[in-house]
């Protein structure tokens, strides 16, 4: 079969809503797009452990500590799961990490913002996991089988995280004046970066064309962002916190909230590496990786010796 026919069959399969599996033929660009997207997703889960881990040792109750530890453990598990999904596309985890360390692979910019008070842990769960869910629910229907199945599994845990984060925010919002101030401060700092998680406006999103045609993406950035805004604004109202957007208002006609313009200069600045924690996060990840090199080498050497022993025996 020549490539044109293959491409036609591939597109037909996608149009029939059948999943593409690792052994199936796929266009090189489809493979590349998926590797980029899945690895970015995996790296986000892993780098995201840093801002949340920042408060593990200071969690204000044993229950809160256990909940946070369990959440971070889930995120690490998501990372592992997604690295495996990426590996089905013919790339190794080592290569993926090299791309991360070399700055070639990205992770979600939200994790380049610091966590500065305990309410940030609530806000991360509520807003960041909340935004991730909107995206990931949509991705459950993505055309690549291993990615789609990964999303189904991950989504269940993410909605748990979102609820737990919201619970922290709600408790703090009805707590002492200091706690309420912390909650509002966290929302003020993390609201806009959360909206940025959905990426540029559709009109400025160069790669969306193929991704939508191949059903890697099922909804556009702006559609997803709007869904997130609509569900979150009401949640903020319920617990008495104010979304830091003076232009936010309900639009009867569209049935959606209108909102103010995102600071795109900040967005592109952080993507380029100039956010408050870009350097810190990447340096941390590299350091941990480098410091662990002797451990990985030892494990490999040991495994090799065991293999040789079993051959002799």
């Amino acid at each position: 079969m020549d490539d044109d026919k293959r491409l036609e069959a591939f597109q037909a399969k996608i149009d029939r809503e059948e999943k593409i599996e690792p052994r199936d033929w796929m266009p090189e660009d489809y493979r590349k797009h998926l590797i980029r997207q899945i690895s970015q997703h995996a790296h986000s889960e892993v780098v995201g452990m840093q801002p949340e881990g920042n408060y593990i040792t200071r969690a204000p109750s044993l229950r809160a500590k256990v909940v946070l530890l369990a959440k971070i453990q889930d995120e690490a598990g998501h990372g592992l799961y997604l690295y495996s999904a990426a590996e089905t596309l013919g790339i190794t985890r080592d290569e993926l990490l090299e791309q991360l360390h070399g700055g070639k692979a990205k992770y979600s910019s939200i994790f380049n913002y610091p966590t500065l008070n305990w309410a940030d842990i609530g806000a991360v769960g509520w807003l960041v996991d909340g935004a991730a869910i909107v995206n990931q629910v949509s991705l459950q229907r993505t055309s690549y089988g291993p990615y789609s199945r990964g999303m189904v599994r991950i989504c269940k845990e993410e909605s748990f995280h979102q609820r737990q984060g919201y619970e922290i925010m709600a408790d703090m919002a009805k707590g002492t004046p200091e706690q309420k101030a912390m909650a509002q401060d966290a929302l003020n700092r993390l609201w806009w970066p959360s909206l940025m998680m959905f990426g540029p406006h559709d009109a400025d999103s160069p790669r969306s064309g193929n991704a939508l045609k191949w059903k890697i993406k099922r909804e556009t950035n702006d559609e997803l962002r709007q869904k997130f805004i609509d569900k979150t604004v009401q949640q903020a109202e319920v617990i008495g916190l104010t979304i830091p957007d003076p232009d936010l208002k309900w639009n009867e006609e569209t049935g959606h909230y209108d909102s103010g313009e995102i600071n795109w200069e900040e967005f592109y600045n952080v993507v380029k590496g100039n956010g408050p924690c870009n350097n810190q996060r990447l340096t941390h990840h590299k350091r941990a990786h480098d410091e662990g090199a002797w451990v990985r080498e030892a494990a490999n050497a040991y495994a090799k010796k065991q293999l040789e022993k079993s051959k002799v025996a």
Binding site: G53, S61, Q73, H285
Partner: protein, 252 residues
């Protein structure tokens, strides 16, 4: 000393060991040599905090003064903690962490086996649950000691050094004072002397498989059970307790 008071103190020691050990492991989040180990460390930490909550709750119940698990964790000063100095020691490199974890888990594996037979039902149930978790922690740490010992030249000397360094801290786990004597007399707990052989046998078996040398004796750390700690504990608590101490009126 009343039996009840002895039991309260004993439970606090179990809880303090679990909490401070759990804290040390929680510091390692996002610092593992591989992602799988990040998950393992978090998991062990999670188990230890789970154990902490159960045994603190029981201690508070026995005490009957209306204190909660969080009061015990967050509002006691340094000298009221009775954890073994072993648990306070810094994580160091991965080999230091694993050597420390092996000693801790092997000891508690054998202890929990005995405590799960205690006539005190709450203590026995706690020990039985913790035994399952500790069995996994022990295997995990022991396998890593073997891998590092029989891995590369570098990993061998690193884990040997780590073992030698931490060895001074294992004696304290076997110490007995009036709290232990009382509970041994009443048949509520087992004398740690009866698990010493098993402990050394388990550790030696790992050391042998790891092709390592037996760590030498020398200095023996002590003091934790009477509230005299290493300098590290104060720093741990200043971080651990910071929020409830800064905002005493807040509920979290």
């Amino acid at each position: 000393m009343e039996v009840k008071d002895a039991l309260i103190q004993y439970c606090l020691r179990l809880g303090d060991d679990a909490m401070i050990m759990g804290h040390r492991l929680s510091e390692l989040c996002s610092n593992g040599p591989i992602l799988e180990e990040d998950i393992a460390m978090t998991n062990i930490s999670l188990d230890l905090f789970g154990q902490t909550r159960i045994i603190y709750t029981y201690a508070a119940e026995l005490e009957g003064k209306g204190r909660s698990e969080d009061d015990l964790a967050y509002l006691r000063p340094e000298h009221e903690f009775q954890c073994a100095l072993l648990t306070e020691q810094p994580n160091g490199h991965f080999g230091n962490t694993m050597a420390r974890q092996m000693i801790f888990s092997v000891f508690y594996y054998h202890l929990f086996k005995e405590l799960s037979k205690s006539p005190d039902e709450s203590l026995a149930a706690f020990a039985a649950k913790s035994l399952k978790e500790t069995t996994y922690h022990m295997r995990h740490a022991c396998e890593w000691v073997v891998r590092l010992g029989d891995g590369t030249e570098e990993s061998k000397w690193k884990i040997q050094d780590a073992l030698n360094d931490i060895w001074s801290y294992h004696h304290e786990l076997f110490e007995k004072d009036e709290v232990d004597e009382k509970l041994i007399d009443m048949g509520i707990i087992t004398d740690t002397a009866t698990i010493a052989d098993d402990f050394y046998a388990s550790v030696n078996e790992v050391i042998e498989r790891a092709t390592l040398g037996t760590p030498a004796g020398g200095w023996k750390a002590t003091g934790g059970r009477s509230g005299r700690h290493s300098e590290y504990l104060g720093h741990i608590l200043s971080v651990f307790q910071s929020l409830p101490r800064a905002y005493p009126d807040a509920k979290w």
